[in-house]
């Protein structure tokens, strides 16, 4: 099977120093892959470099087997990559309905497709999106990206500031998109357990490089190592003991 997304030796950064160095990974259609790692490990930068919002210094990104031109965000979008950034990037002054309209969902049956995934949004359609709660904002951000039927969906820090119940609910939606539509999902996640629950496979980033990877089952066996990557040795040591 051709990978929906293939990242090869990708390096990117800001200013003089690289943030990610030679990162390579693949995501198959219908697969959810998590990028894990501590704050500052390079997860967000990886997604931004894939989307072309941060200039890649080396390496290439291909979608469905086709190599994307470097640093050309529109080409990336057109190739079928959707990206929900960490700050969710809603149009805060526009209503929920208008946010969806900008993404292309304008007619009633377009909206139905969206609301079928996120029925919660129906009663909020005319509310300014800046006034939504964190969970509702995240739903709208996902809905907007998903409406464009991307082949690859990049989701950054989906659970940030959200209550576990809502996170579970959103993970459910992602799983459904992956199985029903064959969407490939890249999930950058801070919450280790949530990520392990949601993802089929995961890559752990440390200081801009992939240091650990494996399927959910493989990683579950190396939990101490994973926790150390997150919490530092003191805590992980204490809890593993």
């Amino acid at each position: 099977m051709t990978a929906a997304l293939a990242v090869t030796s990708l390096s990117a950064g800001y200013g003089s120093a690289p943030v990610i160095r030679g990162i390579s990974f693949e995501v198959l259609p219908g697969e959810i892959v998590a990028l894990l790692g501590r704050n500052g490990a390079g997860k967000t930068t990886t997604l931004l470099a894939i989307s072309g919002l941060v200039r890649a210094r080396a390496g290439e990104v291909s979608v469905g087997g086709k190599v994307l031109p470097a640093h050309h965000p529109r080409a990336v979008t057109r190739a079928g990559v959707g990206h929900v950034p960490e700050e969710r990037a809603l149009f805060a002054n526009l209503s929920v309905r208008d946010n969806l309209a900008v993404a292309g969902a304008r007619r009633a049956h377009d909206l139905r497709r969206v609301l079928e995934l996120f029925p919660e949004l129906e009663r909020l359609l005319d509310r300014r999106s800046g006034l939504l709660s964190g969970g509702e904002q995240q739903m709208l951000a996902l809905a907007r990206a998903v409406y464009q039927r991307p082949k690859v969906l990049l989701v950054d820090e989906m659970s940030l500031g959200l209550a576990p119940k809502i996170c579970q609910r959103l993970v459910g939606v992602l799983r459904r998109l992956a199985t029903e539509q064959g969407m490939a999902v890249v999930l950058v996640e801070q919450h280790l357990f949530l990520a392990l629950e949601a993802a089929d496979r995961a890559y752990v980033l440390h200081r801009g490089e992939i240091t650990l990877s494996g399927t959910r089952a493989e990683l579950a066996e190396r939990r101490a190592e994973l926790e150390a990557a997150y919490l530092g040795s003191v805590t992980a040591g204490a809890t593993a003991a």
Partner: protein
């Protein structure tokens, strides 16, 4: 107690970023403040130093400081650093430190000594953009120390440093809390926080979920849950159900802009 913050709350629009936070710092202590992204750590520093409107009472020494503008609090000895450093790019290193020094006499010598202490003396005449990231972080510390802090609030001093550089900060930070001076430390490098702090507070969704010595806190289940997420087996923690469950859900950009608007 040097700092006593009681029932401190901060709301951005309808979202509670800090909810009834009570915390104290004694002279000579290094106190850590940790928690996942968006938990309200920086907002707490903002509230204490006067960069954001907060409810509750905050005593510094024996003075109630709620309502004082930020520069007055700084003059009292409540000195902070910034996650984004906010160095003065147009000023030389010496001048940056002199800004912290204010109008007291003897600034030049003291500035030179501080730059020397952080290994920056050779760049005294250069401007911050000419420094490496690590040196910029040290300059921010030097500038803050020049203000003669009684309580130094450090907002992620190790951000962007690798683990070795981060570990090398432990001794200087420890050394800052001498005699009457105390340090409140926010950092994501949990190793650093646990190794230098006398006590640690853990914030999640704007609330204190754990407090105590490093050993105690690091063993706490609530902390693990906050950092790693709730395990699939349903390990519960109480913040999941209260109304402010989405306190951290506010758009980080929006929070940033709120802070900037509030800036005095």
């Amino acid at each position: 107690m040097l700092l006593r913050a009681e029932g401190v709350g901060v709301a951005f629009g309808g979202v509670r970023a800090l909810d009834e936070v009570t915390m104290s710092v004694a002279a000579g202590e290094v106190v850590g403040l940790i928690g996942p992204n968006g938990a309200g750590k920086t907002t707490f520093i903002d509230a204490v130093t006067g960069f954001v409107l907060a409810t509750g009472t905050i005593h510094f020494g024996d003075q109630q400081i709620q309502g004082l503008p930020a520069h007055r609090r700084a003059a009292l000895g409540l000195v902070r650093t910034f996650q984004h450093l906010e160095l003065f790019d147009d000023l030389s290193l010496t001048e940056n430190v002199l800004i912290g020094h204010g109008r007291r006499p003897g600034g030049r010598q003291e500035a030179a000594a501080l730059l020397d202490r952080f290994g920056l003396a050779d760049h005294a005449g250069a401007c911050p953009p000419d420094l490496s990231h690590g040196q910029q972080r040290l300059l921010a510390l030097a500038r803050a120390l020049a203000s003669r802090p009684r309580l130094l609030l450090l907002d992620e001093p190790a951000a962007g440093l690798d683990s070795r550089e981060s570990a090398a900060l432990a001794d200087p930070i420890r050394a800052m809390a001498t005699g009457e001076r105390a340090v409140l430390l926010i950092d994501h490098d949990v190793d650093l926080v646990f190794s230098v702090c006398d006590r640690v507070y853990v914030l999640e969704f704007g609330r204190v979920i754990a407090a105590g010595g490093p050993a105690e806190v690091s063993a706490s289940a609530a902390v693990r849950a906050a950092y790693l997420g709730t395990a699939g087996d349903g390990a519960d923690h109480d913040s999941a159900d209260h109304d402010g469950a989405e306190a951290g859900g506010v758009d980080p950009d929006e929070r940033q802009s709120e802070r900037q608007e509030k800036s005095p």
